[in-house]
């Protein structure tokens, strides 16, 4: 899995390529933890993400919760159909800010 960080004036973008599974989920968690505190808007760009499993979902949820508590925002960008359906299945679709 490859994570690319882009910092824009109003948001930080983490582009996640590959697979977000039990093996790689900790990497994403670590990358997010590394971000400076006070990140208002974090965008997780999933345009090249093939796959997400429950481990990935956990990271996403906890990140969402944290930012929410801090007054920030988590945006999930460009998830593919299958990931979308997982989000739907698990009800994450209601919780997350998903941008196509």
């Amino acid at each position: 899995m490859k994570i690319t960080k882009t910092i824009e004036s109003d948001k930080t973008i983490l582009t996640v390529d590959g697979r977000l599974d039990t093996t790689t989920a900790p990497e994403l968690a670590a990358a997010i933890a590394e971000l400076d505190g006070g990140v208002k808007t974090l965008v997780l760009d999933f345009k090249d993400l093939e796959y997400v499993s429950s481990a990935g979902l956990r990271v996403i949820l906890s990140t969402h919760k944290k930012l929410d508590a801090e007054g920030g925002k988590l945006i999930i960008a460009h998830p593919n159909d299958m990931i979308q359906s997982i989000f739907a299945l698990t009800g994450f679709i209601e919780i997350l800010n998903i941008e196509d």
Binding site: T22, S53, S54, R58, H64, S85, I86, T90, L96
Partner: protein, 890 residues
């Protein structure tokens, strides 16, 4: 080798040097003696020649002197004779004139030098004085005024009174002699030089002389007795001889008068006249001189014979010792005397050290001997000689030469020393040169060859001997190299042959063992893995496993004593026996061993034996029956705990006949393992000669999680053994068999079964595998996604929770059939039914949503059918999904 050669060379050179030295010494010694002899002889001869030449010379001179004086007499007589003749013939005034010419004063003083009264002898030898009362000065003094004629008269008177009476008495002719007959001879006018000319007339009276005092002198000394001190033997002899001699002239020998003056007289007889005899006297001074020179001191003194050597001149003489007189050789002269005060002169030669015997007898031919002369041991030689001058035997002399040894050898010693040093130096140089030369040519070459050979001996057959500095060594090097090459070739061929035999034996051995794993893929009741690492030589280990019927499975391990082909053959026998007996299906393990043992005991000339452990397991129940014939007790993993299986030891197979083997029982639960090994494992040795040991082996089972992966376990153990041994040569076969019991029954028919560990890699492998399988079937992408997602969730669950976080193993079975995908996860961990968990409330807000619980929810949601069972000590989670198969485009 260098040392030996140098030692011998040194010995040789030393001997050569010594021989040379001794030769030099002998040669020099003889040379010295020879030199001394020659020196002595030569010196003696030279000295003797010198002496005798001088004698001869003197003789000659004396003869010549006589001749000379005689010639003078001859010439004087001729002159006087002619004068006398002329007087006799003619004038008669000769005498007178002569007389008148005389200066009376000088005549007087000459005649009467003492101015004493005229004295004369009478017939008694007394001194009568016819002119008594007259002093000569009265007669002849200058102050006298007498005239010449007066003086003549006086002289006549003198003659008449004095001379004539005597003459008349003795010689009648004398009466006719007149005063005028006297004549004074002027020697200068007659002969020059002559000191004395006398003219005694026939009667013997001197009438004419150069000396007035001689006038009237009676040459015959008739008035005197021969005992009278005034008796003049010489004049008497002269007169007697001249008148008896046939010769006209007569020369006397030299005489020396009282004042030390030497005289030699010669005379001539004038027979036909009254003139008588003319006598001439001369002073032969040079003769004296020569005689002086003849003296021994002057002749021999300058001769040197050696540093301290001496020439001694000795004559035989009477010598008095203690009152008795002996005839001894007395030293008359000796050269080279250090101390003039204590001279040897006058002492007998005997005292000096040279014996009389030696001098008088005929010694050795060359008179060469040695005596202690004056304190020095010396070489001595002598010559005898005679005094040719006197021709008197009593004047015979002996010349002795002495050369002290020290002198003789002085120069020799110097020569010897310098020769020795020179030779020593030479030989040292020779030694060094030869040493270096041989070193260079031979020894270095030999050393190099030897060192190469040593390397070859130590096993390095690739070493080339390359010593090429001369032809011999080139040949040697080439010879050795050719030999070594040939040897290498033979060794290679032999090795190859051996290797071939070995390979054949090994292939026989290994081909008889089951090596295909997994051996029963369709059976999932157990896993088994076996591995044999053979040692260099063909060993006697073997293992075997086989089903004897649908449920009963036998696995065994064995170790034949010995190595090589005999062991391999024995092994084959044992293996075949066991298997064939087992396949009868009617015999228990103990029975099988009993019969195998008996069979092996027969025809066992080589007295080999085999240790073995055999287990028979009913895979449907897990019941295991085992028997151990002297083999290492196996490790059993029961309920996740490893330990050595206690088996009552039985004797080896092929040992003693009719041995009753005892079998024992064990019940295996799913997940339990049995690990068999041979002593190649426990006795693996490292460099420090430590053994691997049973404890170390058991320790590897410490952190295991049942069920273990048999292959993984065996490989881990092998690796650990390798690390321990660290390259040290393996001496024995290392054989291992690992058996893991899994489940009683199999619902997994027709399913692909995988025995996997809970490592992260497994997930990737599994995912990749299933993805591909589904893709190949033409499954929908979404289905693939969902199924792999479910795979991951279940896997994660097992990985994280089944074995308490430790890495364990699980069985994954799957099947794609009739457009349906089914899979089953079987893990032996804690009993856990994931389906009992409540679904998460997906409607909850984010902050209210718990993090966990999603996994199983997804599983349940995404799969068509999920079921869980716990049996055979294992969790079984089964899932099914219908696939949407894409129809392939045509």
């Amino acid at each position: 080798m260098r040392r030996t050669f140098q030692k011998w060379l040194l010995i040789f050179v030393s001997i050569a040097f010594l021989v040379t030295f001794v030769t030099f010494f002998i040669v020099l010694w003889n040379g010295a003696v020879g030199d001394v002899k020659t020196n002595v002889q030569t010196t003696l001869e030279t000295t003797q020649n010198s002496i005798e030449t001088n004698y001869y010379n003197l003789e000659q001179t004396l003869e010549e002197s006589k001749k000379d004086t005689a010639n003078k007499a001859q010439s004087a007589s001729l002159i006087l004779l002619s004068e006398a003749q002329s007087e006799a013939e003619g004038t008669g005034s000769f005498m007178m004139e002569r007389h008148l010419a005389i200066d009376f004063n000088s005549l007087y003083s000459e005649a009467f030098p003492n101015d004493t009264e005229i004295v004369t002898y009478d017939e008694n030898g007394e001194v009568p004085n016819p002119l008594e009362g007259y002093s000569p000065s009265d007669l002849f003094s200058d102050s006298s005024s007498r005239s010449a004629s007066q003086k003549y008269q006086l002289f006549d008177q003198y003659f008449t009174l004095y001379v004539k009476p005597i003459m008349e008495k003795i010689y009648p002719i004398a009466t006719g002699v007149k005063a005028t007959s006297l004549h004074l001879i002027d020697p200068g006018q007659v002969i020059n030089p002559a000191t004395d000319i006398n003219n005694p007339e026939a009667g013997g009276y001197i009438l004419g002389s150069t000396t007035i005092g001689y006038f009237g002198y009676d040459m015959y000394n008739r008035n005197l007795d021969s005992s009278n001190p005034n008796y003049n033997q010489q004049s008497v002899d002269f007169m007697n001889y001249i008148y008896s001699s046939q010769e006209a002239t007569y020369a006397q020998d030299i005489l020396i008068d009282s004042s030390g003056q030497s005289w030699q007289y010669a005379g001539i007889k004038l027979n036909d006249s009254n003139i008588g005899v003319i006598q001439v006297g001369t002073n032969p001074e040079d003769i004296l001189e020569r005689m002086e020179r003849l003296s021994f001191e002057n002749l021999i003194k300058p001769i040197t014979i050696s540093n301290a050597g001496k020439i001694i001149y000795a004559e035989l003489e009477d010598y008095e010792i203690d009152g008795k007189v002996y005839k001894k050789h007395i030293i008359k002269g000796i050269t080279n005397e250090e101390n003039a005060s204590s001279s040897w002169i006058g002492k007998p030669l005997e005292e000096y050290g040279v014996s009389e015997e030696y001098l008088s007898s005929s010694w050795n031919e060359d008179h060469f001997s040695n005596f202690n002369c004056g304190g020095h041991e010396s070489f001595v030689s002598f010559v005898r000689g005679s005094n040719t001058l006197t021709a008197d035997p009593s004047d015979d002399y002996v010349l002795i030469a002495t050369v002290p040894f020290i002198d003789a050898f002085a120069s020799e010693i110097t020569s010897l020393i310098s020769l020795t040093i020179g030779t020593l130096f030479l030989f040292i140089v020779i030694f060094i040169l030869i040493s270096l030369l041989v070193q260079r040519i031979v020894i270095n070459g030999i050393y190099q060859v030897n060192s190469s050979l040593k390397q070859i001996t130590n096993g390095n057959l690739d070493v080339i001997v390359d010593v090429r500095h001369n032809k011999e060594f080139r040949d040697l090097s080439d010879g050795i190299n050719t030999t070594v090459s040939a040897l290498k070739r033979f060794i290679e061929e032999e090795k190859n042959r051996n290797a071939q035999d070995l390979a054949l034996a090994k292939s026989i051995q290994s081909s008889s063992l089951p090596t295909l794993f997994p051996p029963y893929p369709e059976r999932d009741e157990f896993n088994i893995f076996a591995k044999m690492d053979t040692a260099k030589e063909v060993g006697g280990d073997f293992y075997d496993f086989f089903f004897i019927d649908g449920q009963r499975f036998i696995f065994l391990i064995a170790d034949v004593s010995g190595k090589g082909i005999p062991a391999a053959l024995f092994m084959m026998r044992a293996k075949t026996l066991i298997k064939s007996l087992a396949e009868t299906r009617t015999k228990s393990p103990a029975q099988i061993f009993y019969e195998t043992n008996n069979s092996l005991c027969e025809n066992n000339d080589s007295e080999m034996f085999v240790t073995a452990f055999m287990a028979m397991v009913d895979v449907s129940s897990g019941e295991l029956t085992y028997v151990n014939a002297g083999h290492n007790p196996p490790i059993v993993v029961l309920n996740n705990k490893a330990s050595y299986l206690k088996a009552s030891p039985s004797f080896v197979l092929g040992g003693i006949k009719n041995f009753k083997y005892k079998e024992e029982y064990l019940k295996l639960a799913p997940g339990d393992s049995v690990y068999l090994y041979t002593d190649g494992v426990s006795e693996a040795t490292n460099e420090k000669e430590e053994l691997y040991g049973e404890d170390r082996l058991l320790k590897l089972f410490d952190d295991i999680v049942s069920p273990i992966d048999d292959e993984e376990m065996i490989l881990t153990i092998s690796k650990d053994i390798d690390n321990f041994v660290a390259g040290y040569e393996q001496s024995d076969d290392i054989t291992q068999v690992c058996f893991t019991y899994l489940a009683k029954s199999s619902n997994l028919k027709d399913m692909h079964k995988l025995f996997l560990s809970t490592n992260d890699e497994t997930l990737d492998t599994l995912t990749a595998l299933i993805s591909k399988e589904l893709e190949d079937c033409g499954a929908d992408k979404k289905d693939i996604y969902n199924i792999t997602l479910v795979l991951e969730e279940v896997f994660a669950n097992i990985k994280n929770y089944a074995y308490g976080g430790k890495v364990g193993h699980f069985i994954f079975a799957y099947q794609i059939k009739d457009e349906q995908f089914s899979m089953e996860f079987i893990d032996y961990g804690v009993e856990f039914n994931p389906l009992t968990k409540n679904d998460p409330n997906i409607a909850l807000k984010a902050k209210d949503r718990p993090i966990g619980g999603l996994g199983i929810f997804l599983v349940k949601s995404l799969m068509d059918d999920v079921s869980y069972q716990y049996y055979d000590l294992a969790n079984h989670l089964k899932m099914r999904k219908r696939l949407k198969i894409k129809k392939s485009e045509n």
